[in-house]
């Protein structure tokens, strides 16, 4: 019985693997083709392997620089969101008896729901006023803010689910708020932090609209911004664009695998301890 069930599960899970890996296959194949070959068949093997697409892409989009910039933005945003978000969530969850926490929840909820396009012009006006144009630090603040609301929502939800008896034990042991957060709650929250960190990382790595509006200097282009360079006069060169997608995704995949592996091990250990 168990064997049958496992077989069914394996079949399903590999089927799903197959259809989620399809785009990867198509992207890699397309990165060696030209437009005509891409349009004539997604799965066809390219007749000639155009390795030149990669050198074209690296040159047109200044791949090393833009990928480096994106990595920097992604790392910093993740760090900021995690720290600021955890602090706020701790207050929202563990100090919820304070009267002003309720309306704050509502404000953060607005942050989860706000459609990005209605904020662009006011943010651009602020950026102009404070010298935030072409400024990574300002961009970092924007990225952080747009992830904070959801992060706080997730962290608070998760923390609310953690048994308070653990807090009380720690407080009796003489833990202050900071100690309670860093050495008791933080380890338990690792899975949700890791999950959110991955979302934030990908956002920071591939965000387009704000980097488009706020950055002008080509040396500061991020991946998505650099990707626009493949468009010409009413045409798009898809081959090099896909080649660039392949190059740009490598760091994310590597980080995702390494990071998730690490955190998961830690999280499981934490759960056992708890």
């Amino acid at each position: 019985m168990n064997k049958v069930k496992n077989t069914v599960l394996y079949v399903f899970s590999f089927l799903w693997c197959a259809i989620t890996l399809l785009p990867l296959l198509i992207t890699v194949l397309a990165s060696f083709k030209n437009n005509d070959e891409i349009y004539s068949g997604l799965f066809s093997i390219p007749k000639t392997w155009r390795f030149s697409n990669f050198s074209n892409a690296a040159q047109t989009a200044d791949a090393l620089v833009s990928i480096g910039n994106s990595l920097l933005m992604a790392f910093c945003t993740t760090l900021m969101v995690t720290i600021i978000g955890m602090l706020a969530s701790y207050a929202l969850s563990r100090k919820s008896f304070l009267k002003f926490m309720k309306p704050l929840n509502l404000i953060f909820m607005v942050g989860v729901m706000v459609p990005v396009h209605c904020t662009i012009i006011p943010i651009n006006t602020i950026a102009t006023a404070v010298g935030g144009k072409d400024n990574y630090f300002f961009l970092l603040l924007v990225y952080t803010t747009f992830n904070l609301a959801q992060a706080i929502f997730l962290y608070t939800g998760f923390m609310d689910g953690i048994d308070r008896s653990m807090d009380e034990a720690a407080i009796i042991d003489g833990c202050g708020d900071i100690k309670l957060l860093t050495s008791v709650l933080l380890p338990i929250c690792k899975p949700i932090i890791a999950t959110e960190a991955i979302f934030v990382f990908i956002y920071g790595y591939s965000e387009l609209i704000f980097s488009l509006i706020l950055i002008s200097n080509e040396a500061k282009y991020t991946v998505s911004r650099a990707m626009l360079s493949f468009t010409g006069n009413h045409t798009i060169d898809l081959g090099p664009q896909f080649a660039f997608v392949v190059m740009a995704m490598i760091p994310t995949v590597v980080i995702y695998i390494l990071f998730h592996e690490k955190v998961e091990a830690g999280a499981l250990a934490g759960a056992v301890k708890g």
Partner: protein, 296 residues
């Protein structure tokens, strides 16, 4: 319980950085949109804005296209609960199970998100091409020739195509949210359930599901708010077309401002969206609170 001064200090200090950022970069723009929604403005800095009262709101609420776009968002919500939720929870069970190769699965399930909306949308629009797309080929192979037509330009059907692509893409993402909840369930509870003679389904029904209620609540609120403001995937696949039939409210608020230069009307769209979102999230909070009362 007596509130100590220290609690105030810590509460304020911890929440302050996040609050400042959200007030400056989100709440201020929202207030700006609120004011704009009662005005007309062509989007040129330094030019006067004229007050028009509720004209933007009445204009939107009486237009057919707004309700059409709301309906499209509603289809996204239906798809979110009917397809995405069971799918991503199932995937979360798989990758946290004792099966082999979970590491490989986890990476591949998440791959569409890593590749990004543009690539995914491009691939699926080609896959769904009625002439040479892979889906049409499959239908031909199954002798379903009658079902092959231009899906992405047929009203309503094209929205459902985008909905399904959206669920396919974000299944891996929401899987991680559910997985985070699942790994937090202590092993002892599972063992206890097995000792009590629960089979696999019963274990999920009576142990896993109740303990994951929090994850479901998080998912529900994120899903509803996300569906209301859905933009990227629709824009990339159909651009809201043909002739606006696949528009969502977020696409409308974008085109009104950036293409039609009707910033007042766009502001009114934002406010309507936010109000809808707030109402729905309050409703959902209630639903989940009542359920927790039932359990306890």
């Amino acid at each position: 319980m007596k509130v100590k001064r220290k609690d105030y200090v810590i509460g304020i200090a911890f929440v302050l950085p996040a609050l400042i950022l959200i007030l400056c970069l989100i709440v201020y723009p929202v207030i700006n949109a609120l004011i704009l929604s009662f005005q007309t403005w062509k989007g040129i800095y330094g030019t006067p804005r004229t007050w028009v009262g509720l004209k933007n709101y009445t204009g939107i609420l009486s237009s057919e296209i707004f309700w059409k776009s709301m309906l499209n968002s509603f289809w996204f919500i239906v798809g979110g609960f009917g397809v995405l939720m069971p799918l991503s929870f199932g995937l979360a069970l798989l990758i946290t199970s004792k099966l082999k190769f979970t590491r490989f699965m986890k990476t591949s399930y998440f791959m569409p998100v890593i590749l990004g909306t543009t690539t995914v949308a491009l691939m699926w629009t080609y896959m769904l091409n009625p002439e040479w797309g892979a889906v049409a080929q499959l239908f031909k192979f199954l002798h379903l020739d009658g079902a092959i037509f231009d899906w992405l330009s047929t009203p309503t059907l094209n929205v459902w195509c985008v909905v399904l692509v959206n669920e396919w893409m974000y299944a891996g993402y929401n899987m991680l949210i559910f997985a985070a909840g699942l790994v937090a369930i202590p092993d002892e509870l599972h063992e206890a359930a097995i000792i009590d003679g629960c089979n696999g389904w019963q274990k999920i029904r009576f142990v896993t599901l109740p303990l994951c209620k929090n994850s479901f609540k998080i998912f529900s609120i994120l899903c509803v708010t996300g569906c209301l403001k859905v933009f990227d995937i629709v824009w990339a696949m159909t651009r809201g077309g043909p002739n606006n039939v696949s528009s969502t409210p977020a696409i409308m608020l974008y085109t009104q401002a950036f293409q039609y230069k009707l910033f007042g009307r766009s502001g009114a769209y934002s406010i309507i969206l936010l109000v809808f979102g707030l109402i729905l999230s309050v409703v959902m909070n209630r639903v989940f609170r009542q359920e927790s009362d039932l359990y306890s």
